[in-house]
Symmetry: D2
Subunit: 312 residues, 4 copies
């Protein structure tokens, strides 16, 4: 049977009809204002109404950045939307006559990779979504790890560096501050200030102003062979790999999937991740190790995963 997956971002909502093979049969989207929860709900309902005209559906899964309660009904906290202990399922259910569930967006994306992407052949995997921030999803024994309260896999807030970079969460040294697109941008800008003669390629793209350097510029120049760009991706990869070694010490997965915008750098990021992971893994050689893979699904992973989770 089909299900609808809805991916609520900060400024737009994307939704799609997904079959039980993870294929998106139809898709639509709306712009929204993160400060107006009511507007977001109306848009979700409209998208569901629109999409189910042509397809029979059995369930709706709604994914959003934030903590979701373990009964998949309430958004406890969302960093980018004005939801605090917000009964999102209860608000949507009266307008949608199939079951509705709410999911964390990184969990949804990771689940899509597990079911239909890079993780489809394993039972235990971790997905690292390295986008603007750093999200995670954990699958153990073919089940999504939700935790006792629904808020597991918030890996971006493991502390990697005591007294390190201050995170938006108010704590220093979070992994997200070292392993994210935002970190890549910060490091690139700093490098352009500290070593301008090595940053000519980056500075050219940024019109000469270090403050205008963006993360994707780094990937771009690295792919053209720029040494600083390659080094910056390697530094990013080093932090991803070091943190992955921590997660592997705890979880011992079979596979680690690297996704998010940074994954578009391909081997330029994956190789340093693997190398740093190998350097950091305790008892290497005395224990089996996970494989690493790039995510196979792209921006639609949230829709596919939310839909699939809604069916279960």
């Amino acid at each position: 049977m089909h299900a609808i997956g809805v991916d609520i971002g900060g400024t737009k909502i994307a939704a799609g009809v997904v079959d039980d093979g993870g294929r998106i049969l139809a898709q639509s989207r709306r712009e929204t204002d993160p400060e107006r929860p009511g507007e977001i709900e109306r848009a979700v309902v409209e998208l569901v109404v629109e999409l189910r005209q042509d397809y029979p559906i059995e369930a709706v899964g709604v994914a959003a950045a934030g903590f979701v309660s373990d009964d998949r009904a309430t958004v406890l906290f969302a960093p980018n939307i004005a939801w605090r202990d917000y009964p999102l399922r209860e608000r949507l259910a009266p307008h949608i006559d199939v079951p509705v569930v709410v999911e964390n967006d990184a969990n949804a994306a990771g689940w899509a990779e597990f079911r239909f992407g890079a993780g489809r052949d394993v039972a235990d995997m971790i997905m690292l979504t390295v986008g603007t921030g750093l999200g995670g999803a954990i699958v153990i024994g073919s089940e999504l790890l939700r935790g006792a309260h629904g808020v597991a896999a918030e890996i971006g807030h493991m502390r990697m560096v005591p007294d390190g970079h201050m995170c938006g969460c108010g704590h220093p040294g979070c992994w997200e501050q070292y392993a994210s697109g935002r970190a890549l941008t910060r490091q690139a800008r700093a490098a352009a200030v500290a070593y301008p003669h090595r940053a000519t390629a980056l500075l050219e793209l940024a019109g000469g102003d270090p403050r205008k350097i963006k993360g994707p510029y780094v990937t771009h120049v690295a792919q053209q062979g720029d040494p600083l760009g390659i080094e910056l991706l390697a530094e990013l990869g080093t932090w991803i790999g070091a943190g992955a070694a921590d997660l592997v010490a705890v979880l011992d997965p079979e596979l680690i999937v690297l996704g998010g915008g940074v994954a578009s750098a391909g081997d330029l990021i994956l190789e340093p991740v693997r190398a740093a992971f190998g350097d950091a893994l305790s008892a290497r050689g005395h224990r089996p190790e996970p494989r690493f893979a790039l995510a196979e699904m792209r921006n639609d992973a949230g829709i596919v995963g939310a839909a699939d989770l809604a069916r279960t």
Copy 2:
């Protein structure tokens, strides 16, 4: 039905008959030489033969420090015993006519707490065993987390401090180097060198020689109100709490059990753990939190857990 649990330490082996309520009905022990695997096996078999004379048993669980394969048969690596890819179950099975399984010792101890101790009312818990080193056990959905290859929950080797104290595993900054009895001893000795006037109580117990200070001395003087002792336990607790916040970010458990020798300090260690955990937990106030508790079972937890795991 009853089962026998065997706990193989570095220099001695303890075994007991355990009923299905976690009670030890009979117990025995042997000294052994960690360099002689054959001798260890003979001792295990002797203990089993001795103990089952008076009790019917259905299974034997053998716990030891080290990585154990996911089929619970092979010790991949043991830090303190000369086992490398060692088929321990295969070596024991011909001599024991009930099923034998091999388990990691920290997993066994954690499982005992989960089934019969501080965790008996929860489904998701983490046990931190702060002894000489730092071991862990993770229970998710009432099942022991073994990982894809059997080596999950090696929490002591998460990196807490880049370029930090060198661990015996060859990597710097492992959590175990900050949250263990060995760390407490190191910090106490250093404090006695750096601030001798504040370390008079500790130095008195050590005959005036900072190098002779031992971890338990710290607990002893702290319980008598010595400010440096209290401070050293608080520092230890701070590292335990900070790392616990990392684990909670990943696993979102309902309960964290603090065990091992350090737990004997009671509130002198538990309070700083709780405080540091609260300070370090990301998104505090926006998410449910686990409880903390001291372990209820003592040195026999390994026997009880190994026996109980052998039945399943």
Copy 3:
């Protein structure tokens, strides 16, 4: 004889006639645009002309934030003004018929304390100017330490934390990122996000918005007994004291003077500085230690020091 001291800030220039006892006899100021070096020079000349109408002067000292060449003529680099290898003395000299020298502003302020303030009785001192950033001045054997190229005492850029907070200079972990008004503001805002229930006093001053908290609010609430404010100042003081211990290991001064805006917190900052210094100083008890004192001169220290240095 008298000299004129000129203190060039980012947006304003202050100047004064200073006698050989360090007293300011007359004073004046101008607003300026940091992007227009020519305008700054005209303003300096105007101020000198204005002030010397009523006083005979023998020299002019001009202080500014930045690297100054060892011949006290050229600004090699200024972070806030558009000077790069800028021959400031040469630009001013034709318009001023007494000798002109250029000095680093933190050096000027430190020299004023050494000659007329907290350091007037010692021969070896370090001044830490904890303002928005962190500046330093070093006096050895009653002489200002300029270094081989004129750029000594840039203490704010010693690295305190590998992989720490990114500094405006493009490097991570500079002391300035931990021991400055900017650091205090950052930590206060983060604390208000991470522990809002403890930050009620700070949040009230900031209209409820953590992003609007300012450093002086912390001093204000701390002086009224607010626990978080006191803790934030203590944290700042801990970093100042720890870095001071590094400087003392290198320089072994007789006195450390704490100045800048943060010094207005008095003992609320000085006590934690002393405590952290004592905890961090290697071989304590086996070596003499410096005293700590608050700066005695306030905003005019730059004028007084620049004038006095111009005479020598």
Copy 4:
């Protein structure tokens, strides 16, 4: 005129007659027991008596590891010899009829380089003596920096890593724990545990036992092209260079001289030092920089420097 320099080590004393060009004209040595100060003094006197038979001398300089008072008379504290507030000059003077001064050994060695070695053409230099530990000497304006109390230039105890490796001084993260022969040994042993397949060359020299690896083995295999050896020296050099950048921020010298046993690795250590220094130096490109050089004098630097300092 000639002077005698005496270098008191932990287990032996070396002395020599030094002319005013820094040449050693005659030399002798004695074994000693560091626990017996009286025996050390007798040996020093004997050496002086022996050496001056053939040479007229005007002064004796005695160098030892430890804090020396600013009047060059008293050893305040020695890490390796049983001296605490020990009036060494007063104990020796009655037996030696020329002036005697006591000096810190790293200061003596640095002074020898300044006067007769790599620093003979500069006025401002820092010497880093990377032996078993890390010592320093600072020359400013052609004068040895002694500090207000005689204990300046204890650079090995600047804190490089908060919560880092514990130093023998009782504090964590001292530079000496990262930039010394002892650090090199520790890192090499750890690498051989963590990455045995990369450490075959080192392990061969150590008979297969990681615990028997010694620092000089690293230099040896590196000089033969072993990648791990080169990497370990590079890591050591990175820490030396990073700390040097801190010192340069404070002192702005013209030259940094690298000495001690590690200097025998030549470019294998000097190149990484330079590279790390360049990466870490704040405001690079906007300020003049010091040169780096290897020490030119070897084991006799302490004798030569002590003798020369005795003349001044």
